[in-house]
């Protein structure tokens, strides 16, 4: 249990480094980087310890701090939930963060950037917030840290605030994700209002459940019909499943925003304005994963709603394809990676939607590694190219920076999904799960799965293409500019992290070689075991976050079933074969178009499609139009209304009063005879009135 006692330190260490870097960074060597490295290193070690403990079958779910205890019926808490899922995520976040800190020494310190305390402070705060999000044991805490990582993202994207681009991109990133978070917040409030708790997993004490989790309560409501305690259903006048679907979709709003899914993906490419290590850490490996992680975290809730699952799968499949096509024509290396990131998170959503819980987490893991690698590799290239990111100015870097090249190539192969690199295993599993569930599931849901599968499959081809287009343009052929001919060398602090990640990108897929396992019968699907836990008892029984529980729910409640059109083994192989084939096809097409010594642009052949793709399907345009073309003019009109009508009435009342006053004072004509007349008149009127009333006449 000792590991769990120290677990809060995983979050707190980077937070301390934030304070140290911000307030003392300018008096420290390396501008506070060392504090960050120490802290994240410490967190990494602790995370490993936690992971080992979890591997020993122990889990932890505990309330650490009561945010507000004042309302007894609904207390809001901060707590730790350490189960295999969060332990895995802790490892990923700590590792990437640690490596990014080291890489930053090369990318920021060596480049002589100013404002380093701010930079490392931001990284520290981000790491702390992200880790806080990962270990959160309830939805509110998760939401709070979800927002905090958004703040850090804002601060780090806008790091170079003296230029015009980064602040604008930072604003956009925060605003678009905030739009998603709006729905998330409704969802959080709704879930608390409905269930009276936001716990992801039940709290137990001596084997007794002392506080039930909301996915379990929802399950009881739907499966066992226990709806008496849920007053909210009466308020909204819906059945439990319908209302829970609404709640799930609301939370999904935050997911779509943060994980850059269609239609809220537009902020991510712009976010590349930030320093590249930041892009690697935040906008590829960790923060963007927060959305997917959240769905996985409360998967027991989504598994209850076929509608929500269908929406998730469809968004995922569509985004995977949609973003991949936009990545085809980009000229800047980081832009390609950005769209690739969007696309890959689409895969994870597709997996989650189609019941592939393991596949999603697996892809999340491998993607974190190889995408961080690619971004850091790109960062290395950018250092070499003196911050020119245009791939058409590069070429031939292969020989001049071999470490970068080979590691980048490993990452690219993983991204493209070429066997045996990490991406192949995870992407294959994603597609496979979608396929078999698509065939097995009855009705509309199955159709949706198949459609999403088709889109995901098509995206595989594009992925292979844009990835290797990028590789060929950057590293192969002849150098196309002076800087490419004489790139700036990078040091150990760049090469080190690249090497670590390169090795991982090659090997991490082996943790869950499901096809191999199925074929050989060997129990080498470690991730599956890790997330499934023991079949009977153990932590899944305590927390209800085990895979087995989810599969039961999918089957019994959402009626997601498996189907093998070609028999179990053949389907498996066919699926793997098709996706590998498509990936290779993409690679080969890229090779044929761009592998030459002096490649030329082929985008013109796309005709009108090129314009469409270059403009990203006018997604930015319509969203900007919504903001500046609709909302802002509306605000102006309302302002006019406010000044003219609302304030006009106020001023009008005063004017009318004053006008009345100026009329009344005219009675006072200054002529005393008139006064006498009016006086007499008044008296006579009174006399007449009272005379008539009193009957005097």
């Amino acid at each position: 249990m000792a590991a769990f006692t120290y677990a809060p330190a995983i979050v707190l260490l980077p937070f301390v480094s934030f304070l140290v870097a911000l307030f003392a960074g300018d008096r420290m060597p390396k501008g506070g980087a060392l504090a960050g490295i120490t802290a994240t290193g410490g967190s990494l070690l602790l995370s490993i310890w936690v992971a080992l403990t979890v591997a020993g079958g122990e889990v932890h779910n505990e309330i650490l701090y009561t945010w507000t205890a004042s309302v007894e019926t609904l207390q809001l808490n901060f707590g730790l939930l350490l189960d295999p899922l969060s332990a895995l995520m802790l490892l990923i976040v700590c590792l990437i963060s640690f490596l990014v800190h080291i890489f930053s020494l090369g990318y920021m310190n060596d480049e002589g950037e100013t404002g380093l305390p701010r930079y490392y402070g931001g990284l520290g705060l981000f790491t702390a917030s992200m880790l806080g999000f990962v270990v959160a044991n309830n939805l509110l805490m998760a939401f709070m840290f979800f927002e905090l990582v958004g703040l850090c993202s804002y601060l780090l994207i806008g790091f170079w605030f003296r230029q015009d681009g980064p602040p604008s991109a930072a604003k956009k990133a925060f605003l678009v994700t905030r739009f998603g978070d709006y729905f998330f917040l409704i969802g959080v409030v709704g879930i608390f209002a409905t269930f009276g708790t936001g716990l992801f997993a039940p709290l137990t004490q001596g084997g007794e459940v002392v506080a039930e989790s909301f996915p379990m309560l929802a399950e009881h409501a739907i499966v066992d019909g226990e709806v008496e305690g849920i007053a909210m259903l009466e308020t909204v006048g819906m059945g439990p499943q319908a209302w829970f679907t609404v709640l799930g979709l609301l939370v999904l709003g935050g997911v779509v925003g943060k994980s850059a899914q269609f239609p809220l993906h537009t902020w991510l490419p712009d976010a590349m304005e930030g320093p590249t290590p930041v892009s690697a850490l935040i906008h590829a490996a960790t923060m963007v994963a927060a959305g997917v992680y959240l769905v996985a975290r409360m998967y027991g809730f989504y598994a209850l709603s076929p509608t929500a699952l269908a929406v998730i799968a469809l968004i995922g499949g569509f985004t995977a394809l949609f973003a991949a096509t936009m990545g085809l024509v980009k000229q800047e290396i980081k832009q390609v990676l950005a769209y690739s990131t969007i696309s890959q998170y689409g895969y994870m959503m597709l997996a989650l939607g189609s019941g592939g819980y393991i596949a999603a987490v697996f892809h999340l893991t491998t993607h974190a590694v190889f995408k961080a690698l690619l971004f850091l590799g790109a960062g290395s290239v950018i250092i070499a190219m003196h911050h020119n990111e245009n791939m058409w100015d590069m070429g031939g870097l292969k020989d001049r920076m071999p470490v970068t090249y080979w590691t980048f190539l490993a990452g690219s192969l993983a991204l493209a999904g070429i066997v045996p690199f990490a991406g192949f295993w995870s992407k294959d599993e994603v597609l496979y799960e979608a396929l078999i569930h698509g065939f097995g599931t009855e009705g509309g849901l199955g159709t949706v799965y198949l459609a999403a599968y088709a889109m995901g499959l098509l995206a595989v081809f594009f992925t292979g293409f844009y990835t290797f287009r990028m590789v060929y343009l950057t590293f192969h052929g002849d150098a196309r500019s002076d800087t490419a001919r004489d790139p700036e060398p990078v040091r150990w602090n760049v090469k080190g992290p690249l090497t670590v990640l390169g090795i991982l990108a090659t090997t991490i897929g082996f943790i869950n070689m499901k096809p191999v396992a199925d074929l050989t019968g060997a129990h080498i699907d470690f991730l599956h075991v890790w997330l499934n836990g023991p079949e009977e008892g153990g932590w899944p029984a305590t927390l209800n976050t085990g895979l087995h529980h989810y599969e039961t729910l999918l089957e019994d409640v959402a009626h997601v079933a498996k189907g093998y059109p070609l028999g179990e083994t053949t389907t498996l192989l066919a699926s793997a074969g098709v996706s590998l084939g498509l990936a290779l096809a993409g690679v080969l097409v890229a090779r044929s178009l761009y592998a030459g010594a002096d490649p030329v642009e082929h985008t013109d052949k796309l005709g009108g499609l090129k314009t469409l793709l270059m403009h990203n399907y006018y997604q930015d345009e319509y969203q900007v139009w919504l903001a500046t073309g609709v909302t802002y003019p509306l605000a102006r009109v309302m302002n006019k209304f406010d000044q003219g009508v609302v304030d006009g009435v106020v001023n009008g009342i005063s004017s009318v009063s004053l006008f009345g006053g100026s009329r009344i004072r005219r009675i006072q004509s200054g002529v005393v005879s008139n006064y006498a007349t009016l006086l007499t008149l008044g008296l006579v009127l009174l006399l007449a009135a009272f005379g008539i009333m009193g009957g005097w006449f």
Binding site: G661, R665, I667, Q668, L683, G691, W696
Partner: protein, 516 residues
């Protein structure tokens, strides 16, 4: 305690009268005296004595023992709590005014006459407070009016002053004729002029007569002709309305207050108005009990008349004030508006006469507080005139920088007049408001509220000019006149102190009103 002779109950009035006589004596000894200090001293002494006597008698409980108070001259004069209360108001206002006049009249001739006239008028007011008969009331009222006509026109070379005097006088003359005619009709209807006699006549429905000081029915029990009585009462209302500057007899007020020397404006708008109201309160509460009047049938419902007058007065006074260009005239109109507020004292009464003591005590309290804040405000105008500051709002720009103390005092007066809780005006206005709601007189309450809101606007224009605006021209204030300053600051302090100390005022007023 030494038992004082009965006539000493009139000491507040007598000391004023005595002081005026001393002044006249001084004047006849040295007709061209410019010893302003001496003259002011005598006047201040007299008025302070008057105030002191009134205050002493109030605290000693004169008139508290029984409801009649100290009756003098065959019940023609009654010194009770009500009378003393108003004597105190008159005494305090007169003190402030004569004190302030020290600097004001220093450059004018006929100083002794000025002070003597003020004190004579004040004597009339004091007497009016105690008048218990239409006859004494009429005489006292004329004693108030006649010197004040002269005082308004005191600046003989000043067109404004003369014009003001003329208008005041002409309207006053008409009004007193109306009043006299009204009194004659009441006499015709009831056969008596003493208030208690009139009341008996109304309640019994028979014409009364007074034999050896006691009221009894006339031989043959002739009935009271209610129509004649009604017309008479209405005309008396007219006479009262003139003195209190209420619509439609208010026309003289703006001009008179504007044209008169500022201390006289203060005197007229505060003390003279109070005197008008004491007559009204006593006459209508004692002589024309509303319950009996309505029970008799066919007679006038004066409560309704006062309601109409009150609402009209409030609105006309305040709305006209809102658009004035000169500060003094604004205050003049606001003074008309305040008459409307005080009229609530006679208007917020239920059909059976309930609520009269509450509403009257509210009116009395307001008059007392008003005596300080309004006098203070007009004396500030006097100060401004003394400095040669112009008459318009703009001319007051930036005055706060040069004379912060006086301007702070003026701010207190104005906000208190508006009913903000910075001075007693807040409570007295609330007291009136309470009286209206007590009898569910919603229209009166609404008028009070609306006009209070409006009044804040125009009062704050002065505040704005003094503190917020930058001075437009070059203006240097060379001297800070002692007398004016003392009066202004004194009034301000009392106004503020009346906020926590309002309890005393309202208690006395309530007792006094209940005793009637």
């Amino acid at each position: 305690m030494v038992a004082l002779p009965d006539w000493m109950a009139l000491a507040p009035a007598l000391s004023l009268a005595l002081a005026s006589l001393v002044l006249l004596l001084a004047d006849s000894v040295d007709p061209d005296t410019t010893n302003t200090g001496l003259l002011t001293g005598i006047s201040v002494l007299g008025s302070l004595l008057s105030f002191g006597f009134a205050g002493w008698f109030i605290t000693a409980g004169t008139g508290m023992a029984d409801s009649t108070g100290v009756a003098l001259f065959n019940n023609q004069i009654v010194v009770d709590q009500m009378a003393l209360f108003f004597m105190a108001i008159v005494g305090s206002v007169t003190t402030l005014v004569v004190l302030a006049s020290y600097d004001y009249v220093a450059e004018h001739s006929y100083q002794a006459e000025f002070f003597a006239l003020v004190l004579l008028s004040a004597t009339g007011m004091s007497l009016l407070s105690a008048a218990n008969s239409l006859a004494t009331a009429f005489v006292a009222l004329e004693l108030v009016s006649l010197p004040s006509y002269a005082l308004v026109a005191f600046l003989k070379e000043n067109k404004g002053s003369v014009e003001a005097g003329l208008k005041y006088f002409l309207i006053g003359a008409v009004s007193s004729a109306v009043l006299a005619y009204g009194i004659s009709l009441v006499y015709a209807a009831t056969g008596v002029l003493r208030f208690d006699g009139v009341a008996t006549a109304i309640s019994s429905g028979t014409v009364q007569t007074i034999v050896d000081g006691s009221v009894q029915a006339q031989a043959g029990d002739p009935a009271v002709p209610m129509a004649i009585l009604g017309v008479g009462i209405l005309m008396i209302i007219g006479g009262v309305a003139f003195k209190t500057a209420s619509v439609p007899f208010h026309f003289w007020a703006p001009e008179a207050y504007e044209g008169a020397p500022a201390p006289i404006s203060a005197f007229l708008s505060s003390a003279s108005k109070a005197a008008g109201f004491v007559l009204a309160f006593r006459a209508f509460a004692v002589a024309f009990p509303i319950g009996d009047l309505l029970a008799a049938g066919g007679a006038i419902n004066w409560v309704m008349a006062f309601q109409i007058l009150a609402i009209a007065t409030m609105f006309i006074g305040n709305f006209a004030a809102a658009t004035q260009e000169t500060v003094k005239r604004m205050l003049a109109y606001s003074s008309v508006g305040h008459a409307g507020y005080v009229l609530i004292g006679l208007a917020a009464v239920s059909g059976s006469g309930e609520g009269l003591s509450l509403s009257m005590s509210a009116g009395m309290s307001h008059l007392l507080v008003y005596g300080f804040m309004n006098t203070g405000a007009f004396l500030f105008i006097a100060l401004a005139e003394y400095w040669g500051v112009g008459r318009r709002f703009e001319d007051y720009n930036g005055l706060g920088k040069e004379a912060p103390v006086a301007c702070a005092a003026m701010t207190v007066f104005l906000f208190s007049l508006a009913g903000l809780p910075i001075g007693g005006g807040f409570f007295s206005k609330f007291y009136l408001f309470q009286a209206t709601l007590n009898v569910s007189a919603w229209s009166l309450a609404a008028a009070l509220i609306i006009n209070s809101a409006l009044s804040l606007f125009y009062y704050s224009r002065v505040v704005k000019a003094m503190w917020i605006e930058e001075p437009t021209g070059s203006r240097t204030i060379e001297s800070y006149p002692m007398g004016l300053y003392t009066a202004v600051v004194g009034a301000a302090i009392v106004t503020v102190l009346l906020l926590p100390g309002f309890n005393r005022v309202s208690e006395i007023a309530f007792q006094a009103a209940q005793l009637l």
